[in-house]
């Protein structure tokens, strides 16, 4: 997640002070991880250096918290490009679980147990997310749904692996 781009995007609705930008970001996107002030100001100074934002109406005595920032034309172009650039698909589960399954098969352990444990842990997280989603507002629902679909995809891969364990065992031990 590119915080710089998200802040730029928020500046498209109008110039803001750094603290205001942090507040809006946290409200909209920061559910699990609010931004640190230091992160906001270091990001803004980088955007400033790169000509993607400019300072507006600096008040007297101007420390960083007194400045208002506005997006530049170059900033708008940058946001547009970022929005249509797809995110890297993450494949964090696959490598770890694949390693475990192969090692279990190689050592003649019960590989299904590895998969069962993972399924049960995944479902436990999915239950928590479902409960959170049902208690929350639309934003919570969308955020939780995204996580739920990802966990579900992991589980589909897990079930497919379970169905192929016998073949995999042959390959690994053969």
């Amino acid at each position: 997640m590119s915080i710089g781009h998200a802040l730029l995007g928020l500046l498209e609705t109008g110039p803001r002070h750094g603290y205001d930008l942090k507040r809006v970001y946290d409200e909209r996107f920061g559910h699990d991880r609010p931004l640190a002030y230091g992160q906001v100001y270091s990001t803004l100074s980088r955007l400033l250096r790169n000509g993607l934002v400019e300072e507006r109406g600096v008040e007297a005595g101007g420390g960083p918290e007194r400045k208002r920032y506005a997006i530049t034309d170059a900033g708008v172009t940058d946001v547009s490009e970022w929005l249509v650039t797809p995110e890297n698909p993450q494949i964090y589960l696959q490598s770890a679980l694949y390693t475990k399954v192969v090692l279990a098969l190689m050592s003649d352990r019960d590989a299904e147990e590895v998969l069962d444990a993972q399924r049960s842990a995944h479902l436990a997280s999915m239950r928590e997310l479902t409960a959170r989603k049902r208690a929350g507002d639309l934003t919570d629902q969308l955020i939780c749904d995204h996580a739920l679909f990802h966990l579900e995809a992991d589980l589909r891969w897990l079930e497919l692996t379970a169905a192929r364990l016998a073949d995999l065992a042959k390959q690994v031990t053969g």
């Binding site: 299904e112 147990e113 069962d116 444990a117 399924r119 049960s120 842990a121 995944h122 479902l123 436990a124 999915m126 239950r127 997310l129 479902t130 049902r134 739920l148 679909f149 966990l151 579900e152 589980l155 589909r156 079930e159 379970a162 169905a163």
Partner: protein, 226 residues
């Protein structure tokens, strides 16, 4: 843990030479939602049918509140199904010749309730499940999601203790599937019914309290990692 409502112990069932169940066991407690998961052909539906008294197992026992289904007469078993059990399937469960409200009223009519009373009660449930505007429509005139909600109303109208749901969202898109699950789970929680839910979708299973995994006709005992 609350009381055991329904139990299947060491169930075996063969269709010809296919062993659909081969030593499957599971419990359903009062007011509990249990998901049955497993690959296609593993025996999930057969397990659900045995628990619901629709299919008689070749071996093992099913008991509802400690009463063995296998020791009941056919008449007792169908009375049990009509009064204590509700059913939701993937599709094709509404009677096409009847209007939606008549479909929902059907289980009450079969239990001997007068038409007018049955339809008043059916309407209440349809309002609650947010399909009160479809009373006089035929099943062929409503969408898949609406028809599934009508089916949920029909499953709950008799105030069952257990709702058996076999892929209730299987024919729906994610959005409608979620809505059906929400309504099913919310109303079951309100009325104190338990749910036995067969599904291959993890997001749907996430509405359950607990899962039972079936593989090759056997229920797997999963060590709890949490």
């Amino acid at each position: 843990m609350s009381e055991v409502l329904l139990s299947g112990t060491n169930l075996g069932k063969a269709f010809g030479r296919t062993a659909a169940l081969d030593g499957a066991s599971m419990l359903v407690h009062d007011n509990e939602i249990v998901a049955i998961l497993g690959p296609s052909g593993s025996g999930k539906s057969t397990l659900l049918h045995c628990l619901a008294g629709i299919v008689a197992p070749d071996s093992g026992t099913v008991a509802f509140r400690g009463r063995e289904l296998g020791r009941m007469t056919d008449k007792e078993r169908s009375a049990l199904r009509r009064t204590e059990f509700g059913f939701v399937f993937q599709f094709g469960q509404l009677v096409p010749e009847l209007s939606c409200v008549e479909n929902v009223a059907l289980p009450l009519r079969l239990g001997g309730m007068r038409r007018k009373d049955a339809e008043v009660k059916a309407k209440e449930w349809m309002d609650r499940i947010e399909v009160g505007h479809l009373l006089d429509k035929r099943p062929g005139e409503v969408s898949g999601g609406q028809s599934q909600r009508v089916a949920v109303a029909r499953a709950l109208v008799t105030g069952p203790k257990v709702v058996f749901a076999d892929e209730p969202t299987g024919a729906l898109d994610s959005f409608n599937g979620e809505q059906v699950m929400r309504l099913l789970v919310d109303t079951a929680r309100d009325t104190g019914a338990s749910i036995v839910l067969v599904t291959h979708e993890a997001r749907v299973a996430a509405y359950s309290d607990r899962e039972v995994v079936v593989r090759d006709g056997k229920t797997r005992q999963v060590a709890l990692a949490h």
